[in-house]
Amino acid sequence: MDGHGDGQSRWCLSQVKGAVDDDVAEADIISAVEFNHSGELLATGDRGGRIVIFQQEQENKSLPQCRAEYNVYSTFQSHEPEFDYLKSLEIEEKINKIRWLPQKNAAHFLLSTNDKTIKLWKISERDKRPEGYNLKEEDGRYRHPSSLTTLRVPVFQPMDLMVEASPRRVYANAHTYHINSISVNSDNETYLSADDLRVNLWHLDYTDRSFNIVDIKPANMEELTEVITASEFHPLQCNTFVYGSSKGSVRLCDMRASALCDQHSKLFEEPEDPSTRSFFSEIISSISDVKFSHSGRYMMTRDYLTLKIWDLHMESHPVETYQVHGYLRSKLCSLYENDCIFDKFECCWRGDDSEVMTGSYNNFFRMFEREGQRDVTLEASWENGSPGCPLKSWRVSTGSRRKRNEIGVDCLDFSRKILYTSWHPQENIVALATVNNLYLFQEKLN
């Protein structure tokens, strides 16, 4: 169902970042996108282990229609490839997740993780430097103390802005399996990291210890039926967190109940519809992302075909279910063949929780209005839209008749997919990653 009769949406392309040529280096493929808590900074991580941070420029008062642009603020190498000699395994440097810490002072802090190691990065600005030392020349050479005749106080002089990123903590050696999630607690002191079978709790200040709070590893690995796929702390209650599983269920745990939260407090699970059962039911029901609403009242889960919104007070079934690309249900066999069925899509909430968004194939992304029950399909493409021009909504048809802005399901390009998305916490700006480009869209101001 299209959101608007004339096919035009409220959204327009703002910026595209990254190379626009067809040749994409593996290292440049974006693997994480995250706005910070104010929305001023936008961090992206890629498969090469690099993080690029963009900063929103101060608003241009003469052009009120145009929201401020994002420009590169800092680039640094977060993770390097490593080799586990004991297990003869290479550890990829690909950035799996980035999470910002709430800002406490002038510096910004973020957590970034690859498969095995989490790092705390401090990003700070330097726009002054001390000049007028007594014992050092301006070029750094030391002066002999006997040559001093006067003493002066060094003063800070302005210099060109330099943004420094320094690793403040490295949290390593706590995960046997691949880390899929990190989440900062609302207490701003602890955070959790989750791999396929375990969830660990860390204190930000201590790297030499972490507490295991969930362990679903069976005594005999051959009896394994379920893995953890995503985990997040509640945005307001520092004792509450959830973790999603490959079976399509989400467990909510209360850390006050016991030290080891293997026993869940709530289990959110919708019974499977037997009429839709297929060979691939297990794969498509696997939760790929779980996100709390900003209010903390709701929780959203993404599986391969749907977005579900759950009320934390009701475990039996979601309060809202949105079909992201239901037309793919009949194509599961081909998607299994080309491995697309294993793609893990993220999802995100609008700042006021009134809308949700997630990505799809063919560089489409979907936005769902909760109140009005309206949804729209938009395309991230620098060819089909110019900055400032409102995007036209798309429809995917299973039939053969083609109208304008309609595409057949067999014509979809499954190599172009949007897995990572982030919504500005206050303004209506969304950032999403295609394979190697970062797209920024903003809502038209009327």
Binding site: K87, T225, I283, C333
Partner: protein
Amino acid sequence: MDVTAEAKQIMVQALGKMYSSRSQRGGLRLHRSLLLTLVMKSARDIYHSARLMSEKSGQSVTEECTSHTQEPMDTSSSTATPLRETSGQSSEDGQRSGLEGHPHPLNPAADKENCGPSRPDRHSRKRRSKTATDSDFIPCKKAKLECAEVRGVLQNSSANCGRALDSLSLVPMPRTIVTF
């Protein structure tokens, strides 16, 4: 597509994906391996139950489809083999209804013949407990069952089986799929 053919294709693809993921950067992904294992198991179960259904309906059209007393070890099944191929097409509906969460029609003793190559460790307690105590991620140095060995295992364990060895049985299945 015929359900059995689809199940077979899915199984073969799952095996291919699992083997190729061994050489992937970053090592085996537990989540992916688990999903592939689950798909393969359900495809295998469906494949075998569908084959049994078509075999039964080929054997005797008057017999109940849901009978649990059939004896696949009976040498008379060998005479039903040519019938099975043609009846497989016509009794697809019967097969499909038998797929939907139907309990496995075979008794457990006969089932061993069908899952022979995939779970040889079930016969060996020693190997199984060793796997349980193995630490994670140690590369599997156990020998893979090669095609010829699989054929040998099948022939040795089911002397009376009249069924021709189809290509599916010859596909070497990794013993410990998820354990690593």
